[in-house]
Amino acid sequence: MAQGKYKVVQGPEAYFPPAAAIMGVTLPDAGDAIAEGEIVPESSAVELIARKLKEAKNPVICPGPLIVWQWSDDASPKAAAVKELAEACKAKILPMQDYRAKRINPAAEISPNHPNVTILHNEIDVCVFVGVHSHFENVALRLIRGGTNCYTIALSEYAASDEAMISLRDAGVEKIKEIIKILKET
């Protein structure tokens, strides 16, 4: 930490990089977002997300259990917005169906226990996590920046993710629509 501010950037950083929180990265307050370990205004993060998705060669969206399953009435509208986002940036969707430590088919799904398998198998250069519980999102994103050069984005329902390269907090349907709007305009 003495060397200056820790940046959460594209890897591969290390076999298992330090937790961003331990390196001093903090979560944003309402109205702000987080980009590469720094607190930034939400509007600029939304623009940055749209640009990264636009420039990506092979963007992939990874919807997690919070929006894959109908456990709440909010799941389906958010899933619809995520699908629209995928169409707007021509991204593939590879779901994280749950957090079980089981064998997976990397061409069709992603697991938080070994997310790199899916990232490397599909040569994903930008991935978006949405609807993944924070504790699993955190460890999966850290593994990805540890072992791959994939750019990671987290659209978090509650508190943003300090392990993602860009992350929005309170990211419900409206904020996803903002990203879609910019993608369609540019």
């Binding site: 919807p63 929006i67 894959v68 399953w69 109908q70 456990w71 799941a75 389906s76 899933a79 619809a80 995520v82 699908k83 969707i93 590879l94 779901p95 169906q97 749950d98 079980r100 430590a101 089981k102 064998r103 997976i104 088919n105 069709a108 799904e109």
Partner: protein, 283 residues
Amino acid sequence: MSKKIITPVKEFEDLLTPDYKELIADGPYNSGPKTIDDLGSFREIIEPHPHCAGCGVSLGIRLGMASLPSPEDTIIIGTPGCSYFALTQSALNYSCTAFGNQNSVASGLKRMLKIRYPEKHKDVLVMVGDGGVADIGLDYTLHSWFRGENIATVMLDNEVYGNTGGQESGMTVEGAILNMAPTGKKFPKIPVFEIAKTSGCVYTAKVTVASPKKLGEAIRRAILIAREVGPTYVQVYSPCPTNLKFPPSQTLAIAKEGEKSYYKYEEYMTDEAKKYLSRINES
């Protein structure tokens, strides 16, 4: 914890992988309750196991998982040990505690679930190794029984600390020589089964993986009785070929052999438990 968690949103339905599609259509959640007799004809809650060949513990878990009265309303509490590897990949609510704390965590969860869902039974099932119950978690286990918590406890007894390479546990048989007990164990198995009866358990059963129907029935009864009557305990003999050094093909034979002595089938229940069981079996 309801069928909603196994119902996909329509937007992503077609993106699910075949194993999940099968689990939804043909698993124990939506196609009616399953028993041991149905094994092989439905998509199970657990995946092919990652344990050693011939593992008794993984067989015990597989049989137990096929005997849950309502899997969508069940949470399993585990603790470190070989059982973790199968439980962590099950399509069930599962939580692993710090070693030995399982019955305390289960007590808290059960109480919370009773408050949150007063109109529904949410089953809390503890499934851990012999070291977890008889050694490191013995005090918490006993206290949960003394307190009369509505939880079911299952010990998967492989008579060794399997996961850490073969130390003796309180459930290791006297004289047994293990990787890390080279001069043999110096005292007999801890009588957890007997202690359970005098410590508040209203139902106890001693079974082996060589008698799947008895095992399945014991776990089903333990879960049902724990809902309303009190704490229950099932002790499952699940021998470990790797540490007890017998060929993996012999697991069932060894378990069957056990039924001739210490692991002779035994079932005990209080009158109240008996009445409860016959009442729900009738309805």
